[in-house]
């Protein structure tokens, strides 16, 4: 049993009719409940919830403050390699694009790490393009060894790995896994993932679960919003998160709601996710999963991020570069364009101005490692 089986059932739901079928009553009922079920989630994502965003926001904020307090955890992604063997139609790192690829040496990783750590950040998300050949597990592990000297929590966003490989990385000190399904709709998935191992939908879908089994402390999943009907994608991502929460209660499951951003190519998303839509998604996530982390990236513009921090978001990135070596070297090709290019102090000040406390450190790596 894996989420795959649930997905096979869920995807048979008549979404088009469902979205039309919900009314204000269903939304109000969901809002009155403490523990929401699948039906409630559908109602909150449906057009009927559109006029109720304010009520949803009030409740979402109450829940968030009571569980998480007035704090937002900060982190930053660090790109160490942009080699990729896949062709995803929405990404600049796709193997079809011809640009000088880069992979940081361990010395460069250290320089980059020191630069990031000097901003006060203690949580890092290590990213690579998806290539077992160019950025294999051994390389990731070597990078982690270096990063441990600078950071108190290390997450990874790399190609899906086996349970044993995840375990190996957990032992090395990695405590978080981020892995986006990108698209839960299998037909669209097949269309957008043209070439490479990423075409294997199921191998990707089951990877977060392997991460839970391997003992990562946190697993962050999400759909890249805009690639398919956003209501349906948000629904599937939330159901995936609940599936993992139900089975792996000791793992903190978080959701990211990234929206599609401009990149090297010219692909245009099928479904336009407006600001209102994104707010509805975040609120539905919070109400459906009161204790889940919700991560907000710099894909969103600064002014909009400043608003979203009041609606359920618990983690955000700061001082971001989506280029390999972007914090020290001459940089490379960005994976996509970011919208909020503010520095760590700027984000920190914004949070304080918003009545929120930036948390730079929220964990200490406890894993035994040969290097310590």
């Amino acid at each position: 049993m894996s989420f795959y089986e649930s997905l096979m059932t869920l995807e048979r739901l008549p979404f088009k009719e469902l979205w039309k079928g919900y009314g204000a009553e269903d939304v109000r009922r969901a809002l009155a409940k403490e523990k929401l079920d699948e039906e409630d989630l559908l109602a909150l994502l449906s057009p009927a919830a559109g006029p109720h965003l304010e009520e949803m926001a009030q409740k979402a904020q109450r829940i968030t403050r009571s569980h998480f307090g007035h704090v937002v955890q900060l982190f930053t992604p660090m790109y160490v390699a942009d080699y990729c063997v896949n062709h995803c139609t929405y990404c600049s790192f796709s193997s079809i694009y011809d640009f000088p690829r880069k992979k940081l040496t361990l010395e460069e990783v250290e320089k980059e790490a020191a630069a990031i750590a000097s901003t006060g950040l203690r949580h890092i998300l290590l990213l690579t393009g998806e290539s077992r050949r160019d950025s294999p597990v051994g390389y990731v592990k070597d990078c982690v060894k270096v990063l441990r000297k600078y950071f108190s929590s290390i997450s990874i966003e790399v190609n899906p790995l086996s349970a044993e490989e995840y375990q190996e990385l957990a032992h090395a000190g990695v405590d978080g896994l981020t892995l986006f399904q990108e698209v839960y709709d299998r037909e669209t998935y097949a269309k957008l993932h043209v070439k490479g191992p990423k075409r294997n939908f199921r191998a990707r879908l089951d990877a977060p679960e392997r991460g839970c089994q391997a003992g990562f402390r946190s697993v962050n999943i999400g759909a890249l919003l805009g690639l398919h009907d956003w209501r349906q994608e948000a629904f599937m991502a939330a159901m995936h998160a609940r599936y993992l929460q139900d089975r792996y209660p000791s793992c903190e499951i978080s959701l990211s709601p990234p929206r599609f951003r401009p990149y090297l190519g010219s692909f245009n998303p099928e479904s336009d996710v407006t600001d209102r839509a994104l707010v509805q998604i975040i609120l539905a996530y919070r109400l459906f999963l009161p204790r889940s982390g919700i991560t907000l990236s710099t894909r969103e513009p600064a002014e909009f991020r400043d608003r979203l921090v009041h609606l359920g978001v618990t983690k955000m990135s700061a001082g971001v570069s989506t280029e390999v070596g972007g914090h020290t070297g001459d940089g490379g090709t960005p994976q996509f364009e970011i919208s909020d290019s503010r520095s760590v102090p700027e984000i920190r000040d914004m949070l304080y101005r918003s009545g929120l406390q930036p948390v730079f450190k929220d964990w200490d790596i406890l894993a035994e490692s040969s290097i310590r």
């Binding site: 998480f68 209660p249 450190k361 406890l366």
Partner: protein, 256 residues
Amino acid sequence: MKDALHIGGKALSSRLFIGTGKYSRNTLIPEVVEASGSEVITVALRRVDPSSREENVLNHIPPHMTLLPNTSGARTAEEAVRIARLARAAGMGNWVKIEVINDQRYLLPDNLETIRATEILAAEGFVVLPYMSPDLSAALRLRDAGAAAVMPLGAPIGSNRGLRTKELIGILIEETGLPIIVDAGIGRPSEAAEAMEMGAAAVLLNTAIATARDPLGMAEAFRGAVAAGRQAYLAGLGAVRQEAEASSPLTGFLSV
């Protein structure tokens, strides 16, 4: 000190313990300490960054406070033990609140792992205050393992739902002979007062103060409530009777 709470060789005059976790800024902490009159403050070691001067929560805690580092984030006894040792090595003293939580949805403590961690840490000389689900046999095991007090939850962390576990906490107060510190769930001063009236030794609060519109006002309110509840307990509450006591007894004629 009259009516002091004795724990780990310290005599505390305030029976209100507070937290540091959910404030909008760390600079509020000294003000909350002042308003609450509290002498014990819990800090999540995982949040402490000694290398950061401005963001380090420890720099905001007045020196007279007793630090109660907690093992928040630990999922096993081993992790809790390592966190406790790290806290002591970091100079945070030898008090520790054991939190072993394996359930990220409700944040309910794992009593079995908590007992294991308590055994190890008490033997190492820590003053151990375990956070637990109020279960009598677990509390007795914690006592036997060397806990200095036990901290049963009133309701899940952050829920502000009050003393949902009142009956069970009452049993712990009667049976364990340990100070019982009600931790988690208390959202209103009246609930803190109620716990104290029952004979709890102290209460620990974070969310209720940190997320109030006016945290300082709320800290003061809790200070008063805890003191009032304690005073009522000491004064001896009148027994609650199920039926009214008849003013002209039915068998009065017999005594004539």
